[in-house]
């Protein structure tokens, strides 16, 4: 009995020292990413990258003399899970800084929570405008991002389709329950129409749909030049396979959700020749890119995708702001982040606009024989 009690006390002691918010020599950063579920490679890439950036900073003596500790939470790419993870990080772990989440549909709810709790949030990869701006156009003061936004990405894809591919007619398929996919579809449609193109089919599907035969038969009859599917790799792989099986020859086009090492495993040959917009290419010859690629490759045995790269950039931004502010007070760090100008990150030079969005380049990549091939860079 005595031993049991002793054990209980000992474990309590351990618990209180590891989880207690009172340790003054560390800065805790919460990380919310999907490590399981339909976009798990996104979350894994971001987590790996954030850990690299944090390890580097800690090896150089930390930030303002303090060690950085990352507390990771899995959101399964689900808005409800993301909100749970966020409230746990804020209330239980008492973090003041959050990196995450990956998908816009998860980032939008947590951005509201961070705003209310006055916790600084920086999302590495959520491209929907509504992550940093409310519906009424009001800026969320505590929310930033490390990537470009969907209006820009949609415009770039539309411009590429009409100028480089000389497409006149486009079909669009999008997931009606996903803010990111819906946003991209809308912006592509708008820009493509403005550039003189014609969107002949604009159809939605649900998150759990697997049978696209009816929609694809419709598209086959219409025979558009390009088929724009701005969804994540799991869904795109499934649609691409059915597209080719039914005999549609249109060029496939998508957004940064296509960027995953698993894409070619899921889609097989069906994705060959498909183009997508992205934040960076590992084939970019710039020194920052090559140094980063080799760093990631030695540690994890594969080239970093754009999501990992943005995860790294987001962490660099946050740490740089803390360094410049010489403080861990949320408001100080936020102001320092706003003041950054032409800060060099892997994916490009970053200056934030009035809405917490960085202004930077996009690249176009193509899937060819199971590999991603760099096609061109597009300026903002």
């Amino acid at each position: 009995m005595k031993q049991l009690l002793l054990l209980l006390f000992a474990s309590l002691l351990v618990f209180s020292t590891t989880c207690g918010p009172d340790d003054t020599n560390t800065i805790r950063i919460g990380l919310i990413v999907p490590i399981t579920g339909d976009v798990k490679t996104f979350g894994e890439s971001v987590r790996n990258a954030v850990l690299i950036a944090v390890d580097e900073a800690n090896q150089k003596g930390g930030i303002n003399g303090k060690t950085i500790r990352v507390i990771t939470a899995d959101d399964k790419n689900d808005p409800t899970e993301a909100a749970n993870a966020c409230s746990k990080l804020i209330n239980q772990n008492k973090v003041k800084f959050i990196i995450g989440s990956v998908a816009s549909k998860a980032s939008i709810p947590i951005s509201e929570m961070c705003e209310q709790a006055k916790v600084l949030m920086i999302t590495p990869t959520s491209t929907n405008p509504r992550v940093t701006v409310r519906d009424n156009g009001e800026r969320k003061e505590y929310v930033f991002r490390a990537c470009f936004i969907d209006p820009f990405q949609g415009t770039v894809a539309a411009k590429f389709a009409s100028e480089n591919l000389k497409a006149k007619r486009a079909a669009i398929l999008y997931d009606i329950s996903n803010d990111y996919v819906k946003g991209l579809a809308e912006f592509f449609k708008e820009s493509f129409t403005q550039m003189g193109g014609q969107v002949t089919i604009y159809e939605s599907y649900g998150k759990d749909d697997v049978d696209f035969s009816a929609l694809l038969t419709k598209i086959k009859a219409d025979n558009p030049d390009v088929l724009f599917i701005p969804d994540y790799y799991t869904k795109v792989g499934l649609i691409a396979k059915q597209t080719r099986a039914i005999g549609i020859k249109s060029v496939l086009l998508g957004g940064d959700g296509w960027d995953s090492p698993e894409m070619t495993k899921i889609a097989g040959d069906a994705i060959n020749g498909g183009y997508f917009t992205n934040h960076y290419s590992p084939q970019d010859p710039r020194a920052e890119v090559q140094e980063w690629v080799s760093k990631y490759e030695t540690k994890f045995g594969q080239k970093p995708d754009a999501l990992g790269t943005l995860g790294y950039d987001a962490t660099l931004l946050l740490l740089e702001a803390m360094r410049n502010a010489e403080s861990e007070k949320v408001e100080d760090v936020r102001d320092a982040l706003t003041k950054l100008t032409n800060f060099q990150t892997v994916s490009g030079q970053i200056t934030f606009d009035a809405f917490g969005n960085p202004v930077k380049n996009a690249v176009i990549l193509q899937y060819m024989d199971g590999e991603q091939r760099y096609v061109t860079t597009v300026q903002p």
Binding site: T36, G37, D38, K40, K76, I176, E203, S204, Y205, G206, D208, D209, V210, D211, S213, A214, L215, T217, K218, A221, T234, G237, L238, K241, Q242, A245, I246, G247, K265, I266, G268
Partner: protein, 294 residues
């Protein structure tokens, strides 16, 4: 015209898969008046068993299909023994909630890393996709396969239920449990067989689904399970031809709505059809409204 025919072929493929799941719902409901919500998850397990049989053990497709069916039959029987049998005389609501619990358990338990894992997997195609062009129509070997296997299994089931002794016992139990017992029918044995047969059909459905729409994950059974349940109700739950008819209608309505109206309206219209049918014929299309036995 060719476009319409093409869409009807798409509808038949979807309807065939729904039918295989709907049959399991209907069989079990017919015997013990239980809506087995875990049925969609047995379907998911069938898809995974086929996946491992094809990819890991390199079994040819027919063997993989039979393996998945047997595996699911065993799982169905175990679920019945562990979860439903202890509640045989409990109120129906208790069984219903248990069924929901079993469903959630199967989804989340199989999501664990050492089982199927939470991730989306690409389903292996045991053979290459071949398209046959008949005029302007395109039919793939997969569509033919799904349709033929589904029809074949349904015929086998019909023969089993109408021509064999066990099948007759099943119908007797469905008609009147206590009288069947008085006639010397072992009720527990019949219920076990029913769960086995229903789950085996769901397993076959899972494998065919995986081949037709090549992507699986532990939560894949929810939507098809729900749709198949609706199909069973639409046709008249407890009636085997009703499940097939209902599934065919569901598949067709979904595909034709996507084709001619809008894909956004698809589920709304599918469920609207259900509502209208139930308003006009509360027991389903083939259901006979019967007076509750006292």
């Amino acid at each position: 015209m060719a476009y319409l025919l093409q869409q009807i072929i798409n509808g038949l493929q979807l309807g065939s898969v729904y039918a295989l799941i709907a049959l399991g719902y209907t069989l079990v409901y017919g015997i013990i008046r239980l809506i087995n919500f875990a049925h969609g998850d047995v379907f998911m397990i069938g898809a995974y068993l086929g996946f491992y049989a094809i990819l890991r053990f390199n079994l040819p497709f027919p063997v993989a299909l039979i393996f998945a069916m047997l595996g699911c039959a065993v799982i169905g029987i175990v679920i019945e023994k562990l979860a439903y049998r202890p509640l045989r005389n409990a109120p129906r609501i208790a069984c219903l909630i248990t069924a929901l619990g079993v469903s959630l358990f199967l989804e989340n338990f199989t999501s664990l890393k050492f089982l199927f894992g939470p991730n989306y997997l690409a389903y292996p195609r045991p053979f290459a996709v071949v398209n046959y062009n008949i005029g302007s129509l395109t039919i793939s070997n997969i569509q033919i396969l799904v349709f033929v296997i589904a029809i074949l299994l349904m015929i086998l089931l019909q023969i089993f239920v109408t021509k064999t002794k066990t099948g007759m016992a099943m119908r007797a139990v469905a008609y009147d449990k206590s009288t069947a017992q008085l006639m010397g029918i072992n009720i527990d044995y019949i219920i076990t067989i029913t769960f086995g047969v229903g789950s085996a059909l769901a397993g076959a459905g899972g494998v065919l689904f995986g081949i037709a729409y090549p992507q699986i994950h532990p939560f894949m059974g929810i939507m098809p399970g729900l749709k198949a349940f609706v199909a069973a109700v639409l046709g008249g739950i407890g009636i085997i031809p009703g499940a097939m008819l209902g599934a065919g209608i569901m598949g067709m309505v979904e595909v034709l709505t996507s084709a001619y109206i809008s894909s956004t309206m698809r589920d709304a219209i599918a469920f609207l059809v259900l509502l209208i049918v139930l308003l006009i014929k509360p027991a389903g299309l083939l259901g006979k409204s019967s007076i509750e036995k006292v």
